[in-house]
């Protein structure tokens, strides 16, 4: 059963104009958000984006932008309290 989280929240922004069709975004996305098959990439499932930032970091032409971070409640609360960027304080499986 596929997990679903909140809809219409991701900060993922993609510029098809800049895309060269290298396919890296589809290669790195752990949720199959992008599809690319030798042509310009397209977004298949935008609401599956977890904002890990892998696509943006590996796009050689800067066609993708996303506010990447950790989707962890404790990290975000800690971020609110300390006023810093939320980072996961734990090791192992917990982020």
């Amino acid at each position: 059963m596929k997990h679903k989280y909140l809809k219409n929240v991701t900060t993922l922004a993609y510029s098809e104009k800049k895309c060269t069709g290298c396919g890296r975004c589809a290669e790195v996305c752990p949720h199959g958000v992008f599809y690319a098959n030798g042509k310009k990439a397209c977004i298949l499932d935008r609401d599956a984006c977890m904002e890990c930032g892998a696509c943006a970091r590996n796009c050689p032409v800067g066609a993708i932008n996303v506010n990447a971070g950790t989707g962890c409640a404790i990290a975000i609360i800690t971020g609110w309290i300390t006023g810093k960027e939320p980072t996961c304080g734990c090791s192992s499986e917990c982020c």
Partner: protein
Amino acid sequence: MIETISTKLSLKDVLGSLKVRLGIGRMDYAVEPGLYAIGKPGGNSPVLVSANYKFTFDTLRKNLAGLDCWLLILDTKSVNVWCAAGKGTFGTDELIHRIETSELSKYVSHSRLILPQLGAAGVSAHEVKKCSGFDVDYGPIRASDIKKYIEMGCEATREMRTVQFNLWDRLVLVPVDLIAAVKYSLPVIGVLLVANQFAPKPFDKTDAAVSAGAVFAGTVLTPALLPYIPGNAFSLKGWLLGLGCTAGILGLSRKYTKDDRMLAAGSLLLYPAISSYLAMNFTGSSTYTSPSGVNKEMRKALPLIVGASAIGAGLVLGSHLLGGRKTK
């Protein structure tokens, strides 16, 4: 001299992994970063890159039996690949640095690296190419697919590229959260036991059962049943199960007298809120929640959780400490 490592785990390794799953010493379970050999690799053998968290290292090597390959281990401060990529320690700079210090190009005649796909959040493949000359291929997500990936000529199927979060993946994460929740509960239990000496209406088995039920609903039941519970927000899922548990236990065990109404109302406010909070924490363990989503969820849920807990705790404590029945 490059150390050759075994693809078999010793009893000590297995016990080490078990300890990590129970949350014991998992922040400091590391291997030395650098280049290692599996089997008898040569100049054309593939190079796999990974993290120096020993749990990760062990999971990887036990899946490489029969292969001849190199392992380039980055210094991720004993954190797994995905988390380290998020923090940037499994990152472009560390990879370039490790390629140089390990003198990798002395050992291999090709210039291809296989990175775990989940490392991509920290590594920029085109920058690695520019700075080191090495091409980055992102391999499969799971170590168990690596052999198949290499056999297929370094091609991954869509299934290999998609992160899972099945029942077993979720259940193995339960002990760490459960142990943490119990740890935080101990001081509260201590204070209540002392208060019980003076309370006109002491906390009893039912109170113990509903609070244990709330923790169980939030840290065990919610992860186990995650995709089957209605709603998308973790806090809502946890609250629903917490409400079910609390109402169920209260219904089974308490005779509703007039005096118990305040206690029942307080319990129904307090305990599901605790389950909700604990369930929300599981966003950090999940493999699919975005920071924007968790942010939105918390802005709505946290005020409700805090409000319900405060009023609920007030009613529960009030009915036990201030009044109700006279002492038996």
